[in-house]
């Protein structure tokens, strides 16, 4: 039988029930780890984020009022920890940072249709790696929006709330992220001769 998140379960966790806390970790650690991987782009940082998220959650569990699900609450803690790490990294890397892509000119690129077989290329390790690098290269402020909206499939409103942005700002950043990735993908496909 799979455990379900119930008010009683959360109250027990709040009361310090170690067995229940362990159950919550079992239930949600995988999803939080995957969120960390998507946002932070490497295993070590994702693991740090995972540990910090649960440590903070159990430290602050008294403040969890149950107006949302426990998962929603802990997810938000996780996103905030990941964002904090990304900001710290960007401060450290400022001397080496590359110029932000010229998003305006991405609109002007000639757009070619992609052949149907492109989807089969995801089994090609080189292609997968190229896609990963493109996402790694995307500036954090755009990547976070792309990850939350398109990969984690959060709504625009929820993404805006978590990232403390306006909804219109989320839309603009998402469009820029998508444009950047689509153009990088077109470049990869052309380079490999899969696109005329």
């Amino acid at each position: 039988m799979t455990i379900e998140e119930t008010p009683e379960l959360i109250q027990a966790a709040r009361d310090g029930d170690r067995v229940v806390q362990s159950q919550l970790v079992t239930m949600y650690s995988g999803r939080i780890y995957n969120l960390g991987l998507r946002m932070l782009r490497n295993n070590e940082d994702a693991e740090d984020m995972l540990q910090e998220t649960f440590i903070k959650a159990f430290q602050k569990i008294e403040s969890f009022k149950g107006s949302s699900s426990f998962y929603t609450w802990i997810y938000r803690i996780g996103v905030n920890i990941a964002l904090g790490k990304l900001r710290k990294q960007s401060k450290m890397q400022v001397a080496y940072s590359i110029q932000e892509p010229d998003f305006e000119n991405l609109h002007g690129l000639e757009i070619s249709d992609w052949p149907d077989y492109i989807e089969t290329k995801v089994s090609d390790e080189e292609f997968r790696q190229a896609l990963k690098v493109a996402l790694d290269d995307l500036d954090e402020k755009y990547r976070s929006v792309f990850v939350l909206r398109d990969l984690e499939e959060l709504s625009t409103a929820r993404t805006a709330e978590i990232l403390k942005l306006s909804e219109s700002n989320v839309k603009v950043r998402l469009m820029r992220a998508r444009l950047f990735l689509r153009d990088r993908m077109s470049t990869i496909l052309k380079r490999e001769g899969w696109l005329v």
């Binding site: 067995v19 806390q21 970790v25 990735l181 993908m185």
Partner: protein, 83 residues
Amino acid sequence: MKPKHNIELQRKICLDFGADLGSELCKEVGLLMKECPECKVYYDTMQRSIKLYKVTENECELPEPVSERLFKVLNLDKMKRDL
């Protein structure tokens, strides 16, 4: 260009903009897709790139050593996944 996907494409664009399917915006999108093949390619390739990322960035299992270390840090006894 494959016009057969126009209706589905129009539906997706409407949802992307948060618009109702019968709204004026949606009707305009439908017209645009008919009259502007480049717009269709533009949107279609964008959607396909998102789809490719969903495949390549799919969720992975939490590695066992990562899970072990997490429980250790939290000073919790590990439970079986199915209880």
